[in-house]
Amino acid sequence: MNLVIDIALTHVRYRVRQTLVAVAGVATGVGFSIVMAALMEGSQADFTRQLIDALPHITVTDERRQAPLQPAEAIFDAVEIHGLTPEERRRGIKNPMAIMASLEAWVPGAVAPATKTQALIRYASRDLAASVQGIDPHREPKVSMLATQMRQGTLASLYRANNAIILGTRLAEKIGARIGSNITVQTTDGANLNAQVVGLFRSGVRSVDESTAYVMLKTAQILAKQTGLVNEIRVRVADPMAAQSVAQRIERETGYKSVSWQEAHEDLLSAFVVRNIIMYTVVGAILLVASFGTYNIISTITHEKTRDIAIMKSLGLREAAVRRIFVLEALVIGVIGALAGWLLGYALTRALGTIEIKNPMIDATRLPLVYSMLHYGLAALAALGSSLIAGYFPARKASRVFPVDIIRGAT
């Protein structure tokens, strides 16, 4: 066996206790960093999934990014005009069916129309502001997870009664409505509608569940007092991550404001960046502490082995070879520690995965965890890197031992 490997492995083997302590340090660092990454990314993925599931991936609304020019401004662009009464424009997306047909031709996913209006929901003397959304029960399951989020009733229940309505579970709880309850829906324009509750849904997003109701598209148009009004086109794409680019293209082609789920939740997604920075800082700190252990062990070994180093050098071993011995020892600790850390990390992640979170408000669920080879690879790489650095400095110091100084001292 190569001399350097031979000596390094012998040193490590003969210091079982010290080696195990160093290995345990690295393994703990690697293991916990894997668990942390699994938890953090798991919760992030779970949260993102809920966001994606709760809403369409892209919402095309009848708004524009910039307010359209008033006719006078469009004609006299070099003149400043004051006191004009702005032109009233008809609400809604023009030619919605034609736009939907053109989108269906190229968008990798599904498209559905919606009419959205704000209304006051009244029941048993309780009033609650809500967003009432008119949907097409046939198309809606293709663009949102609403069908799977139904807790009572189905989307088809909307056909069951005239003016049928589906409420968010929290909204229903707040006003005390149940399936079969007859509620009143009143818009700011004065439209009034008696509707029967035919279903309850829970998206998992509190704000949605306590302020959203679904009715038939036509019912919503009656509430909005505008026949044929479609003020939202909802799009669900096959790859949710591609939503942003698809939304940009839709906006370019239709001129209507097209908002992807990423844009709609920009603030939350940027919070993830901060969260990830915190996570990687903590993980880095864990591995750094572990590398101190390796540094300590290699320093101790080189200190204890000073005489042996002097003897090896006096016999003719070169500085580089001595340095390699101790760097290799650190690497051996790093490799064993990383492997043990993988096992520890996997075991801990599995154990965490068995914990059931029970909450009366939601269904029993388990901790969201992500098993990713990247986490294992990065943790091992960081452990090996820190071990290498932790080993290099004492190794360099050891290799520079001047044999005569040690031999003189020993004799």
Binding site: M1, L3, L315
Partner: protein
């Protein structure tokens, strides 16, 4: 000149040819008060010599040995090994000469404690890397057997007596078959019986294997039985006489 050429030249030398030459070698330890270890040493050591370096404590015996063995660098002057100037050699070049041409024996055996006697002996061979693992093991076992340690090859140093450890150290010094053995008080830590044994082994190295042995010793009786005695005092040679007394 390549290492092989140097080795050939060394091994080809007849008796009396200079293997080690020290010219006006002075070693001063720097410090607030600089300490002169050896001063103006002129010395030539040929092949097949059993040389004693003696003198009172602090006279510079070990320092001179370390300078001759390229473990230390002279402040002034030069040490030549087999005619080759060493003053401007790199650390790696000096290490290579120590590995192939010089064997060291110290007062305290200085064996690596985690390794068996055989592994300690094969260590310089592995560092030189000229033999196959099988050849290294065979040569190591042969050396240990020639020193009466055939049954102790797999024992670690802590399982051996002081005399046995020193014999393992001798075997290690001979591992790469160097022409010169430098010994620093090789019998200093041994009882009289083991001392005599080690002395005879070194004697045989000169007489039977044609090695040159340079040994620092306090033991004047032992020094008298050697071929040449160099006496140091205050870092300078005060006497250099040849022939057994």
């Amino acid at each position: 000149m390549t290492e092989a050429q140097v080795a050939d030249q060394v091994h080809g030398n007849g008796a009396g040819e200079p293997l080690i030459t020290a010219s006006r070698v002075t070693r001063i330890l720097p410090g607030v008060v600089p300490t002169t270890l050896v001063r103006d040493i002129d010395l030539t050591i040929g092949a097949r010599q059993y040389v004693a370096i003696t003198g009172p404590s602090g006279s510079g015996k070990s320092s001179l040995l370390y300078l001759l063995g390229l473990l230390d660098l002279p402040t002034e002057g030069e040490v030549r090994i087999s005619g080759r100037a060493t003053a401007h050699m790199s650390e790696a070049e000096r290490a290579q000469i120590r590995l192939s041409m010089l064997g060291f024996i110290f007062q305290f055996h200085f064996l690596l404690p985690e390794f068996s006697a055989l592994e300690n002996v094969t260590l310089p061979m592995k560092a030189l890397g000229e033999l196959t693992p099988e050849a290294m093991r065979e040569r190591g076992n042969t050396l240990l057997a020639s020193l009466g340690l055939a049954d102790h090859a797999l024992k670690r140093p802590d399982q051996l007596s002081g005399g046995q450890r020193q014999r393992v150290a001798v075997a290690r010094a001979l591992a790469n078959d160097p022409p010169v053995i430098l010994a620093d008080e090789p019998t200093g830590s041994l009882d009289s019986k083991s001392s005599e044994q080690v002395f005879q082994i070194l004697r045989d190295l000169v007489d039977q294997r044609g090695k040159t042995v340079v040994a620092v010793t306090h033991d004047l009786d032992m020094a008298r039985r050697m071929d040449r005695r160099i006496v140091l005092q205050d870092g300078s040679i005060v006497s250099d006489e040849s022939g057994k007394l």
